[in-house]
Amino acid sequence: MAEKAKRKTDIGPPNHEQFLPPVIKKNYGKWKHHEIPQPGVLVHTAHSGDKLYSVRAASARLMSIETIRLFADIADEFCGGHLRFTSRNNVEFLLDNEANVKPIIEKLSSEGYPVGGTGASITNIVHTQGWVHCHSAATDASGVVKSIMDDLFPYFDGTTKLPAKLRIAFACCLNMCGAVHCSDIAILGVHRRAPHIKHEQVNAQCEIPSTVSACPTGAIRPTTVDGVDSVEVIEERCMFCANCYTVCPAMTLNDPVNDGLSIWVGGKVSNARHEPMFSKLAIPFIPNNPPRWPETVEAVRNIVEIYAANARNYERVGEWIERIGWPQFFKLTGIEFTKYHIDDFKHAGETFKRSMHFRQSQ
């Protein structure tokens, strides 16, 4: 390699076709229907009559290469080395031999990767980096997710039934890399203190005009502190979005005491029955309580249980709440309704109740 070669770039991802198992290559685009014979297993039948067995196992998403190698070994043993990951970070083993379904499930479970997450269940939580990697995080991601999934595990492995799919998402700050804005239940890390400004760094590290204009509420003004150019924040106008921090590292929001979590409910993205919906605020704030965030776990379980007990078949969380009405949601869950629940951002008026359509009966 001592020779000077033209640097290879822009080759793009490898073509997926080389990674597809033969049964998929043969029946690509020619699947007829599917069934879920047991939690965690999908059977797709092709028009040709061929069958594909997908076994879905849980994953922490954050994965050591040791585990990836383990999965590779398992795939070699049971399904010709074929596997995939899902859009929610589970791992799926792709079998053409039904006989291997039971053994692979046993193998996966014994290694600590239980199967489930299909059908009307709670599958893996889409989440983000948290304290593992991000500078912006108001809480850890993986720890909260792990704690919640441990608690909700019976909804994953099919022990406990749900009326419909229930999708949980997690994001550690308002950037929402976990796309929590359209989830049945979402957990979102929130800051509650206005940026702490490192005045000596502002002018060195940031463009003051773009820092000022980054603030959606106009809370930031240029100023001079001890003779250096900097900015100041009108605290009453700050709603802790951290956009200033994104554009200017000298404006930190992280706070060990006042950061924490909020809970959102009733979003969805599928078009099945109801149009996609945004998640709506359920609980404005729960303090950070590592390592297992018991209050947050409890709050999520409460919502899941009330939903499971009250929703109709195929009714996602948002559809259920829309049917019973938000006042009833707050009543059933015992969640306190506060001024924070009432929107005051730019389309706020559109969320006010502009009719007499609510339940008056006591």
Partner: protein, 395 residues
């Protein structure tokens, strides 16, 4: 080289319970890899301090690329020296996240050689995330990746790594070849993916049908979702079978959003002119019902997270496009048209969805050369603030 694991009394609590533990994952690498071990330590420290220990990112990357690496430095470099630099590398996944054991092992080898041994399988946008690289490792990782046929994904103000549902590879409902199209698209826009030049990021997500298993309508600037135009295919025999176990009246007909299904206990009938292709009835009875012919897709535009004008869902831009390979080029041209307009008039850090709201959908359509269609809106305007443009004669 065997490492002595950092003490992690708090994190150890997270090794309990049935769900796979990320702490266990970190330890699996940490016993062999000092970067992973320091990462374990600094994370424990965060759990104790209740605050992250990462600093705002720095500008690092590989030669000739403007994206693909997120720089990261810790604020405790003395205490956890091995993860003082802890960048992530976004590796563009194969469409649909399909792998062989073989290729996975090769990826692991690369990452064992140069990095922490920790990954995210996968990142929220879809990439394979190599979690924790020193600056000096970036070029070698890149070289090894290219060698084995992989490339970096997007970051910064560029086309972000496109992703898609498994589509026709495994799903009977896919109305177009999401994976084939995603591969083709990603290859087509390599330059836009690697060299940020837009006002802000631009994400593509491809779903084979309205179930949208890749959450495209919420998470991509351009969302391409499969659909169809002809009648839903009904197998009355299979309906009769389902009728034995499914409450078709309550759980299917009654839940149809337009009420276009009639079911008298015997015949299942769909008024297809009023079907909005929501997928529900098909979802419930996959053996009896299937999407109709004349398949294609709807293109929606503008989804994003809340920063800074509030979250957006994508909205209809092209109600129906055919999705044969011969149609791909048209979509690329449309995307380029959009980038031209947005590139010229968009403000810094203004996603395309916000841009459209600022300039007005009507104007935007005119500029990208599309006709307004009622399918693009939920309902016409309610306010009378119309920017009338007078014809010359009227003036």
């Amino acid at each position: 080289m065997a490492e002595k694991l950092r003490e992690t009394p708090l994190l150890d609590e997270l090794e309990k319970g049935p769900w796979p533990s990320f702490v266990t994952e970190i330890k699996k690498s940490a016993v062999k890899n000092s970067m992973a071990n320091d990462q374990l330590g600094i994370l424990e420290r965060s759990y104790k301090d209740r605050i992250g220990h990462w600093k705002h990112g720095g500008l690092v990357g590989v030669m000739g690329y403007g994206g693909g690496v997120i720089g990261r430095y810790s604020d405790l470099p003395e205490e956890y020296p091995e993860c003082a630099e802890f960048h992530t590398i976004r590796v563009n996944q194969p469409a649909g996240w399909f792998y062989t054991s073989d290729v996975l092992r090769k990826l692991c080898n690369v990452w064992e050689k140069h990095g922490s041994g920790l990954t995210n399988m996968h990142g929220s946008t879809g990439d394979i995330i190599f979690l924790g690289a020193k600056t000096e490792a970036l070029e070698p990782v890149f070289a090894d990746l290219i060698d084995m046929g992989f490339d970096l994904g997007g970051s910064g103000s560029d086309v972000r790594t496109p992703s898609c549902c498994c589509g026709q590879a495994r799903c009977e409902w896919a109305c177009y070849d999401t994976m084939g199209f995603t591969y083709n698209l990603t290859q087509h826009f390599q330059d836009e993916l690697h060299r940020p030049a837009f006002p802000y990021k631009f994400k593509f997500k491809m779903a084979g049908c309205a179930n949208d298993c890749v959450a495209s309508v919420a998470r991509s600037d351009m969302s391409i979702i499969g659909t169809w135009r002809e009648d839903i295919k009904v197998d009355q025999g299979e309906i009769a079978e389902y009728a034995k176990t499914v409450n078709i009246a309550d759980d299917v007909a009654d839940r149809c959003p337009t009420g276009c299904i009639s079911w008298d206990g015997k015949t299942f009938d769909i008024d297809n002119a009023n079907c909005v292709k929501c997928m529900h009835c098909i979802n419930v009875m996959p053996k009896a019902l299937a999407p109709g012919d004349e398949k294609g897709a709807t293109i929606l535009l503008g989804a994003k997270a809340p920063i800074i004008g509030g979250a957006l869902l994508a909205s209809v831009l092209v109600p129906f496009v055919e999705m044969g390979e011969e149609n791909y080029e048209d979509i690329y041209e449309l995307a380029e048209e959009i980038w031209d307009v947005w590139g010229e008039h968009g403000m810094n850090r203004e996603r395309v969805g916000e841009f459209i709201q600022r300039v007005g959908m009507g104007n935007f359509l005119e500029q990208v050369g599309l006709d307004p269609e009622p399918e693009m809106i939920m309902h016409p305007r309610t306010n009378p603030y119309i920017f009338f443009e007078l014809d010359e004669e009227e003036d």
